[in-house]
C-alpha cells in the first residue's frame, strides 16, 4: 500500500529552464508518463471511436512532452562528472526517450506495458538524479 502524497513532506520542487536557473525535476517527465498510462487504461475500457481518436491525439502530445522533459535533463542538468560516475546514463536516456516515441514506444501502442517500461526508466533516471543532487 502506498501513502497518499499529501502525507509526505513536499516542500521542495525542482524545475528546468535554460537560463539555466538550476531548478530541475524528473517529476515533470513522470507526470506525463503517468498520464500516458492512464490514457492506455481508458482506451482499453472505452471502444467509442471518437473517444479513442481523442485518446490517441492526447497520448501523442503527452509522449512528446515526456521526451522533451527527459532531453532537457540529459542535456541541461547532467554534466560531464555525472556521465563519468554513471556511465549507463547516456543509454538510459536514449532508451527512455525511445520508449516515449513512435518506433515501438508509447506513441505507437495503447498497450499499457510500454507505459510501465517508460515509468520504470524514468524512475531509474530519477534515482540517479536525486543522488547527484545530494552529492
Amino acid at each position: 500500500m502506498r501513502l497518499p502524497r499529501i502525507l509526505t513532506p513536499r516542500t521542495v520542487a525542482y524545475a528546468h529552464c535554460d537560463l539555466p536557473c538550476g531548478v530541475y525535476d524528473p517529476a515533470q517527465a513522470r507526470i506525463e508518463a503517468e498520464s500516458i498510462k492512464a490514457i492506455d487504461e481508458k482506451y482499453a475500457a472505452n471502444t467509442d471511436p471518437e473517444f479513442r481518436t481523442r485518446a490517441l491525439i492526447i497520448k501523442e502530445q503527452r509522449s512528446e512532452l515526456v521526451k522533451h522533459h527527459l532531453w532537457v535533463l540529459w542535456t541541461d542538468y547532467f554534466k560531464p562528472p555525472h556521465f563519468e560516475k554513471y556511465p549507463q546514463l547516456h543509454q538510459l536516456f536514449n532508451d527512455a526517450t525511445k520508449l516515449a516515441g513512435g518506433g515501438g514506444g508509447t506513441k505507437a501502442t495503447t498497450d499499457g506495458s510500454k507505459a510501465d517500461e517508460l515509468l520504470q526508466k524514468i524512475d531509474e533516471i530519477a534515482k540517479i538524479f536525486w543522488e547527484t543532487k545530494q552529492a
Copy 2:
C-alpha cells in the same frame, strides 16, 4: 531545515490531460514558480545586460506556464462539489494566476517577493487539492 526530497516517499505522480485521464498535480505549477524565483535571484546577482534580457525572456515563459497549469486545475480538475466545499477556490485561483501575470505579477517584476507570494498561493491550492484527493 528541510529534508532533501530523495528521502521522502515519492511513488505517486499526478498529471493533467483533457481526455481527461484523471491525473493532475499542482507540482507542475510549483516547479515553474520555483524556476521564476530562481531566475529573480540570478537576475539580481548578475548585471550583464545580455543575461538580464535572457532572464526576462525566460521568466515570461515560466510565468505563462504557471498560469496555464493553474487554469487547467481550476477548469479541469475541480468540480462543483469542490467549489461548494471550498468557496474561496475561485478567488484563490484568480489571485494566483494574476500573481503570475503582467499586471503586478511575476511577469512584471524581478523582485523575488512576488514569486514568494505566488508560491504561497500555489501551496494553498495544493493543500486543498490533496485534501480533495483523499476525500
Copy 3:
C-alpha cells in the same frame, strides 16, 4: 433576422496581451467556438473516416483555444471591482471553460448542442465585458 456584420460599424477591435496592453476582446473566444460549431455540422454531414479524424484533431485545438482566450479574460482583464459587481463571473467562466473541455464539453462530443451552450456562455461573458468597458 440578423444583419451581416459588414453592415455594422466595426472600427474598434480589442485584443489581449499580458504586457498588459489593455486590449481585450471576447470575439477571440467566440470565433473559435463558432469554428467548433461548424466542425460539428461538417462532422455530422460527412462519414468519411479520414475526414472525421481530422475534424476531431482540429476540434481539439479549437476547444483549447476557446479555453485559453477565456482564461486570459478571466485572469488578465477582469479586476476585483468587476468580480464584486458581477458575483456570478467566476462561475460563469468556470462553466464556460468546462464547456470547451474534455469532461462533457466540446472536446468530448460532436453534438453541436454543446457548442451552442458554449456560445451562449461566451455571449453572457461578452455582455458583461462590454458593460465594464462602457463604465
Copy 4:
C-alpha cells in the same frame, strides 16, 4: 466620434480552421495589430528597461500572430475567383505581412506609425473580405 462596439449588433463571429470549417474573420489579425499599436504607445511612455524588454518580447509574438492570421486568410479563405476579381490581393497581403515583420515592419520598430500602416492594410483586406462574403 466612434460608437463603442457594445452599441452595435455583434451577433455573428467568423473564424478559420483548416478543416476547413468555412469560418474566417479578419478581426483576428486586427485584434493583434491593435495590441501592437497599444504596446508601442506604452513603450514610448515608459522608459523602465525591464518593461521595455517585455514590450519587445510581446510585440514580437503579436506581430507573428498578425502574420499568421493574414497568411491563413490569403491561403485558406481566398479562392481563384477572388484573386481574379481583386488582382491587387496578392500584393496587399504581401505588403501587410511584411508590415508585421522584422525587415521594416512592426517587429523592427516601436514607432507606432508602422502599426498604423499595418492596421490600414488589414482594414483594406477586411473590406474586400466582407465584400466577398456578401457576394
Copy 5:
C-alpha cells in the same frame, strides 16, 4: 537516376529568422513535404486503425509546417524586385500553400499524388529562390 545527397557538396545551409538574419532555405519546406509523402505511403501500406489515426495527426502537423515555411519565404525573403522579375511568384506560393492545406491539399487526403504536386511546386519555388541568391 538521382545521386544520393551524400555525394554532393553540402557545405552551405540556409535558414530563416525574422530578425532578419538573411538565412533562408526552401529545404525546410521540402523536408516536411517529403515527410508527408512518406506518411502517405506508410498509410497505404498499413490498415491498423491506431497507426492510421497517428498518421493523420502527424500529416496535419507536417502540412502546417510546409505552409509556415513557405509563407516565411514569400513574406520575409522575397522582395519587390523579385516579384517584378518573377510575376508568377505570388500565384505559385498561393498554389503551393493551398496544396499543403485542408481544402484539397495534403491535409485533406492520403493520396500521395497531392504530396507529389506539392513537392513539384516547392521545387519550382526553390529554383527561383536559388536564381535570386546567385543574382
Copy 6:
C-alpha cells in the same frame, strides 16, 4: 572556394517525424545554427538596444530549435547498431546540444565562436548520419 548550392544536385530531402516516416536530415539543425551565427554577426554590428533585444529573443528560439532537431536525430533516427559502430555518438550529441544551450552554449553568448563550434559538431553528426544512410 565553395560552389553555390544551386549548382549542385539537390533533388532529395530528408525529414523527421515520429510516425516514424523514416525521413530525417541533419540540415534542419544546421539551418538553425547558421541562423544563430548570422544573428551573432548582426548583433556585433548593431548597437541599437531594441535590435539587440530582438536578436537575443530570436537567438533563444533558434538555439532551442537546434536542440530539438538534434534530440530527434539522437532518439528517433539512430538505433542500437549505430551506437555500437559509433561509440562516440552519445557524447557527440550531448556536447552538441549543450553547445546550443544556456550553460555556456549559443543561448548564453553572442560570441560567434560558440556558433562555429556548434556548426562543427553538427557537421560531425551529419557525416556519421550520411554514412549510416549509405550503409
